[in-house]
C-alpha cells in the first residue's frame, strides 16, 4: 500500500502538491487523473523517490521511499518522457535492468516483446513514440516490482495496445501482488483500465473513488412517462443528478442502487424504460458537481 500523508511539495515558491492525503491499495489499477500542473508527475516522482517531499511523508508498505533502495526495489517508474540509453536496444535495457532488479524476468520480457511485435534487438532510438511507451511498460512489468508508476504512459496508445496492456496487467495482478498506478490528464485514457481513480486538482485530491462503487451509486435511465404527474412522482422519489429530454423521452442520471431505481420506476406509469450503462465521464461529472467543479474543463478537454 502506498500511503501519502499530508504531503506538500513546492517548486520555487509554487506549491505543486498541497497537503495531499491519498492511499493507493495493492491489487488494483489506480488512475491518477488531473489537468497539466495538477501535480500528477510530482506525486509519482515523490512516490518513486526521485524527489523528496517538503512536508509530510510517503510510505510504501510502511517505509519511506526517498533514498531507500529497499523500497525502490518495489517500485518501477516510467516517466512521461521515457529514457533509454543512447543507441541501446530493448535487450540492452533489459540486461541493465536485470542487473538492478533482482526479480527481472528476462523470459517474460522476450515473450511479451514478441507478443507485442516489439523488436528487442532494434535500437530504441528508431522506435515510434508509441513503441517506446510499450517498451517502457514491458520493461517495467518484467522488473516484477510491486508497483508500476506510469506517468502519461498510456496517452496516445491505440485501443488494441491498451487492451493488450490491460490484459498483461490483469495477468500480473492475478499472479502476484502488483499495482499499476497510471497518471493521465485525460479521463478517457484511463476509464477502461483503472479500478480506482484519484482526481487531482491544483496539488490536492479532489476525489478518489472506486469505480465499481461509484457506478453502483449512480444509475442512468431512459424513460417515457404516461403523464406529467407520473414524471413528477418519479422525480420526487429519487435524487436527480442530471436530466435531459428529447420530446417525451427523458434521460436521468440518478443516485441510488439499480434495484432502488427499478422499484421507483415500477411505482409510476411509464410507456418505455431502459437502464443505460454509465460512463466514467458521467460519474465524474456528477461527483465533481457536488463539490462545485466543472469536470469537463478539468479532465475532458484535451
Amino acid at each position: 500500500m502506498i500511503d501519502i500523508k499530508n504531503v506538500t511539495k513546492r517548486f520555487n515558491g509554487y506549491e505543486a502538491i498541497s497537503s495531499m492525503d491519498l492511499t493507493i491499495n495493492n491489487g488494483i489499477v489506480y488512475g491518477l487523473l488531473g489537468t497539466n500542473g495538477a501535480g500528477k508527475s510530482t506525486l509519482l516522482r515523490m512516490i518513486s523517490g526521485v524527489i523528496k517531499p517538503d512536508e509530510g511523508v510517503i510510505l510504501v508498505d510502511n517505509e519511506n521511499s526517498y533514498d531507500n533502495p529497499n523500497v525502490k526495489k518495489k517500485l518501477f517508474f516510467v516517466s512521461d518522457d521515457q529514457y533509454f540509453f543512447a543507441h541501446s536496444t530493448g535487450a540492452d535495457m533489459a540486461a541493465y535492468l536485470q542487473s538492478i532488479y533482482e526479480n527481472f524476468d528476462m523470459e517474460q520480457f522476450n515473450k511479451i516483446t514478441e507478443q507485442l511485435a516489439l523488436d528487442k534487438d532494434r535500437k530504441v532510438d528508431t522506435f515510434s513514440k508509441g513503441m517506446k511507451k510499450q517498451m517502457a511498460i514491458v520493461l517495467g512489468l518484467c522488473a516484477k516490482t510491486d508497483y508500476l508508476l506510469c506517468d502519461e504512459t498510456f496517452d496516445g496508445l491505440d485501443p488494441v495496445m491498451r487492451q493488450a496492456i490491460k490484459s498483461l496487467f490483469a495477468k500480473e495482478m492475478s499472479e502476484r501482488s502488483f499495482a499499476p498506478v497510471l497518471a493521465s490528464h485525460n479521463l478517457r485514457e484511463l476509464e477502461d483500465i483503472c479500478d480506482t481513480i484519484g482526481l487531482l486538482h491544483k496539488g490536492g485530491v479532489l476525489l478518489a473513488k472506486d469505480l465499481d462503487e461509484a457506478k453502483c451509486g449512480l444509475q442512468k435511465v431512459q424513460v417515457v412517462f404516461e403523464s406529467d404527474a407520473d414524471r413528477e412522482r418519479f422525480t420526487d422519489a429519487v435524487k436527480i443528478v442530471t436530466s435531459n429530454n428529447s420530446g417525451s423521452m427523458y434521460i436521468y442520471t440518478v443516485s441510488g442502487t439499480r434495484d432502488e431505481i427499478i422499484t421507483v420506476l415500477g411505482s409510476v406509469n411509464t410507456v418505455f424504460t431502459e437502464m443505460l450503462p454509465l460512463s466514467l465521464e458521467e460519474i465524474f461529472i456528477s461527483e465533481t458537481e457536488v463539490v462545485g467543479y466543472d469536470v469537463k474543463k478539468l479532465i475532458l478537454e484535451d
Binding site: 518513486s48 526521485v50 533502495p69 529497499n70 517508474f77 516517466s79 518522457d81 521515457q82 538492478i100 533482482e102
Partner: protein, 717 residues
C-alpha cells in the same frame, strides 16, 4: 542485494556505459605519452649518434629522463583536460529530467551513486594514465634512457597527477551541479579552476597600472610565479608539488618540501571540494536541468564572482588602451557593467528578456568593482607613500633598472633575471645607508615626477627598486624613478658599502666559484670592448684564465664609488663555463653558465693584462671610422633631427675630438646617470659596425645643427 554487492554491480554497469570515454582518454594519453616519448627518444638517439659516444653516467640519464615528455608539465594540462571531460560527461545526466527520473528511481542509494560514478571516472583516468606511463617507461628503456630514478619519478608523478585529477574533477563537478547544461558547466568549471590566479593577476595588473612605485621586479616575479601562489585552486599546489618552472618547461619533482606541501594542499582541496560537490548533488532539484543555473541562491553569487573581475578588467583594458586615460577607464568601467550584466543575465536566465533583471547583484558587483578600482587609483592604503622606519627594516636590497635585463644562474641551477638574483641575495643591514636611502626616496616621491623629467628640467630618471625585509617578516618591494643626480648620489653611497659590492661580484657566488674550480669544465673568456670596432677580438688563452679572475677581483676591490659613477665603462669580460657532460643537451637549452664582468677605465689590473694582447682598450681605431651618424631629439618640440658627417667633412674631426674628450660611451649595462633628453647621439660607423657616444646639450660643435635635417616621421629612434 547487499549494498556492497549493489555497489560493485552498479559500478560495473556504469563502467560499461562509460567505455567510449575510456577509449577517448586512453587514446589521448597514448598519443601524448608513449608516442611523443618515442619521437623524443629517437631525437635523443640521433643526437647521441651525431656527437659520438660520451661518458654516460646516471646524472646524464636522469637529466635526459626528466627532460623527456612523460614527465613534462604538459601532463598537468592533459590531466586537467581529462578531469573536465570525465566530470562533465559523468554528471551531465543531471541536466535532463528524463535521465534524472530514470536513474534516481532505480533502487540505488544516492551516496552509492555518488561514489560509483566518481570512482569509475577516477579509475578511467588512473588506468589510462598508468598504462601509458608504463608504456612510456618501456619506450624509454628500449631507447636506452632508463635509470632507477625513472620509476621513482613515474610513481611520484602518477600520485601527483592523480591528486590533481581529483581536485580539478571535484571543482568541475561543483560547476556541473551548479549549472543546468554542459557548456555552462565546462565554462564555469574552467573559470573556477583559474579563479584564484585570475584574482591575483587582476590585483597585480591593477597595481602595475595605478601604483607608481609598483616594482618592475615584483611585476616580473608575480608574472612568473602568479600560478604558483595560492591554496584555493589546484594549480598552485600542483606546480609546487612537481617543481615546475616556466623557464624550464619541465617537471622534475626535485623539491621535496614543495612536493609534500603540494600533496597535502591537494588532499585538503579534494576533501573540501568533494564535500561541497556531494552536498550540491544531494540538494540539487531533479528539474534543475531546465534552468541554466540549478540553484536560485547561487545566481547572484555566480554573477558577482564573474561580474566583478569583468568590470575591473574592462576598466583596466580601456585605461591601458588609451595611454592611462581616466576618461577611457570610466568608459571601460561602464561598458563592463552593461555588457557583463547583459551577458551574465542571459547566461544565468537563458532569456534575453531577463537582461534587466538581477539589478541588485549588478549593483553589488558594480559597487565592489568600483571600490576595488578606487582603492588602486586613489591609493587608499598609501601604497605609493610607503617609506619604512629604520627600526622596522631587518634588511634591504637596492636594484637599479640596468641590473634586471640579463639572466643569471641561481644557486638552484635556474636562470633568473639578474635583478631577481640580486633581490634574493642582497641583504643590506647598514642603518645609515638605509637612512640615506629613505631620504632619497622621500625626496624623489615629493619632488621627482614619475615619467617626467623635472628634477633639473631635462634629465631622464633612473629606475631603482628597493626590497625591504621587515622585522615582522614581511617582504615589501617598491620601485622608484629617481632623477639622475639623486640616483647617482644613491649609487655612490651604495658602492661604498662592501656588502653591496660583493653581492654584485659573481666570483663571490659559491655555486659559480664551484663551477669555475671544476676541472672537467670547459671555460673560455673573451674581452668585449665598448670603445673599439674590433670587439670580441681578445680571447684569453687558457693559461690566462686564472690570472684574469685574479685581475678582475683586484680591480673590483680597488674601485671606488667615484670611479664607477664618474668613470667610463669601456668593455666587459665574458666568461663561459660549460660542464662537459652536459654539452650534448639536445633541447638546445644550456646548462652552461655565462658571466659578465664590467671593465672601467680605472681598472689597472685588467688594462695591464690586456696589454699582453697588444690591445688598446682606451680608444677606437679612428682610421677605420667611415662617418658619424648623428641624431638629436628636441624634447620641447618632439622633433628629431639626423644627419651623416662624412670623413671628408671638416666637422668630422671636430666631432671626433669632442667625443674623445667627453668619453661618454653609450653603454647600458651599468646605471647611467648622465644621459639627458636633449643629448646628441653620435654613432661612429665602420663597415656596418657602430660605436655609440653621446654629447650633452651645450657640448654640441658649432654648426652641427645646420647639417642635421628634421626626420620625416618626426620620431627619434
Amino acid at each position: 542485494m547487499t549494498s556492497k554487492s549493489s555497489f560493485w554491480k552498479i559500478s560495473r554497469l556504469n563502467s560499461k556505459k562509460r567505455f567510449p570515454f575510456f577509449i577517448i582518454c586512453f587514446l589521448v594519453c597514448f598519443f601524448i605519452m608513449p608516442v611523443i616519448t618515442y619521437v623524443d627518444v629517437m631525437n635523443a638517439k640521433a643526437i647521441l649518434e651525431r656527437y659520438g659516444p660520451i661518458a654516460l653516467n646516471e646524472t646524464f640519464y636522469n637529466m635526459r629522463l626528466i627532460s623527456l615528455p612523460p614527465f613534462s608539465g604538459f601532463h598537468g594540462i592533459l590531466t586537467a583536460a581529462l578531469a573536465l571531460l570525465l566530470a562533465i560527461t559523468g554528471w551531465s545526466w543531471n541536466n535532463q529530467i528524463k535521465k534524472v527520473d530514470f536513474y534516481k528511481a532505480l533502487p540505488v542509494k544516492e551516496s552509492v551513486r555518488w561514489w560509483y560514478i566518481n570512482l569509475n571516472n577516477l579509475f578511467i583516468f588512473m588506468i589510462c594514465y598508468g598504462i601509458n606511463l608504463i608504456l612510456s617507461n618501456i619506450v624509454l628503456a628500449c631507447g636506452g634512457f632508463y635509470s632507477p630514478t625513472a620509476l621513482k619519478v613515474s610513481l611520484v608523478g602518477f600520485l601527483v597527477h592523480t591528486l590533481l585529477f581529483i581536485a580539478v574533477y571535484m571543482i568541475i563537478c561543483i560547476a556541473q551541479l551548479l549549472t543546468g547544461n554542459f557548456i555552462l558547466a565546462a565554462l564555469g568549471g574552467c573559470y573556477l579552476v583559474v579563479l584564484e590566479p585570475l584574482i591575483r593577476f587582476m590585483i597585480y595588473a591593477l597595481s602595475d597600472s595605478f601604483f607608481k612605485t609598483y616594482s618592475h621586479l615584483a611585476y616580473l616575479h608575480d608574472g612568473i610565479y602568479i600560478l604558483e601562489k595560492g591554496i584555493l585552486t589546484p594549480i598552485a599546489p600542483y606546480i609546487n608539488a612537481v617543481g615546475y618552472r616556466f623557464n624550464t618547461n619541465k617537471v622534475y619533482f626535485a623539491d621535496n618540501a614543495g612536493l609534500v606541501k603540494g600533496i597535502v594542499i591537494l588532499c585538503i582541496q579534494i576533501a573540501v571540494y568533494g564535500f561541497i560537490a556531494y552536498k550540491l548533488y544531494r540538494a540539487r532539484a531533479s528539474y534543475a536541468g531546465n534552468n541554466n543555473i540549478a540553484f536560485g541562491f547561487a545566481k547572484p553569487i555566480i554573477k558577482c564572482i564573474i561580474m566583478i573581475p569583468a568590470i575591473v578588467f574592462a576598466a583596466l583594458g580601456f585605461h591601458t588602451i588609451n595611454g592611462d586615460g581616466d576618461g577611457f577607464m570610466i568608459f571601460g568601467f561602464i561598458s563592463g557593467v552593461i555588457i557583463s550584466q547583459i551577458l551574465l543575465q542571459y547566461l544565468i536566465e537563458g532569456d534575453f528578456k531577463c537582461v534587466v533583471k538581477g539589478i541588485r547583484s549588478a549593483v553589488v558587483s558594480t559597487v565592489i568593482a568600483a571600490v576595488i578600482v578606487i582603492i588602486f587609483t586613489a591609493d587608499v592604503f598609501g601604497y605609493d607613500r610607503y617609506i619604512p622606519e629604520a627600526d622596522e627594516v631587518e634588511s634591504f636590497a637596492v636594484i637599479y633598472d640596468s641590473d634586471i635585463y640579463s639572466d643569471y644562474l641561481e644557486d638552484d641551477g635556474e636562470y633568473v633575471p639578474y635583478g631577481q638574483y640580486l633581490m634574493n641575495h642582497m641583504k643590506l643591514t647598514d642603518k645609515q645607508l638605509l637612512s640615506k636611502l629613505t631620504g632619497y626616496i622621500s625626496e624623489s616621491l615629493s619632488e621627482d615626477k614619475y615619467n617626467e623629467n623635472n628634477y633639473d628640467g631635462r634629465s631622464y630618471g633612473v629606475g631603482v627598486t628597493v626590497k625591504y625585509e621587515t622585522t615582522s617578516g614581511k617582504t615589501i618591494t617598491r620601485s622608484y624613478v629617481m632623477a639622475n643626480g639623486r640616483g647617482k648620489e644613491l649609487y655612490r653611497d651604495l658602492y661604498n658599502n662592501r656588502e653591496y659590492v660583493d653581492v654584485h661580484n659573481p666570483l663571490k657566488n659559491e655555486s659559480i666559484a664551484e663551477k669555475l674550480s671544476d676541472k672537467n669544465a670547459y671555460i673560455s673568456a673573451f674581452y668585449d670592448s665598448f670603445v673599439d670596432f674590433d670587439y670580441n677580438s681578445v680571447h684569453f688563452e687558457e693559461g690566462d684564465i686564472l690570472p684574469l679572475f685574479d685581475a678582475i677581483q683586484k680591480d673590483m676591490d680597488a674601485r671606488k664609488a667615484d670611479d664607477v659613477t664618474d668613470g667610463n665603462m669601456i668593455g666587459e669580460v665574458c666568461v663561459y663555463i660549460e660542464p662537459r657532460v652536459e654539452r650534448y643537451d639536445y633541447y638546445g637549452g644550456s646548462y652552461s653558465t655565462n658571466l659578465s664582468f664590467a671593465v672601467y677605465d680605472c681598472d689597472a689590473y685588467m688594462l695591464k693584462l690586456l696589454e699582453k694582447y697588444e690591445y688598446d682598450i682606451t680608444e677606437p681605431n679612428w682610421d677605420e671610422v667611415e662617418r658619424f651618424e648623428v641624431t638629436r631629439y628636441d624634447y620641447d618640440s618632439g622633433q628629431s633631427y639626423s644627419g651623416n658627417i662624412e670623413k671628408d667633412d671638416p666637422m668630422f674631426e671636430t666631432l671626433k675630438g669632442m667625443v674623445i674628450i667627453s668619453g661618454n660611451y653609450g653603454t647600458s649595462s651599468v646605471p647611467n646617470f648622465d644621459v639627458y633628453n636633449n643629448d646628441l647621439n653620435v654613432s661612429a660607423v665602420s663597415n656596418n659596425r657602430y660605436l655609440h657616444f653621446y654629447l650633452r646639450e651645450g657640448e654640441y660643435p658649432e654648426g652641427l645643427d645646420d647639417k642635421l635635417k628634421p626626420d620625416q616621421n618626426g620620431l627619434y629612434y
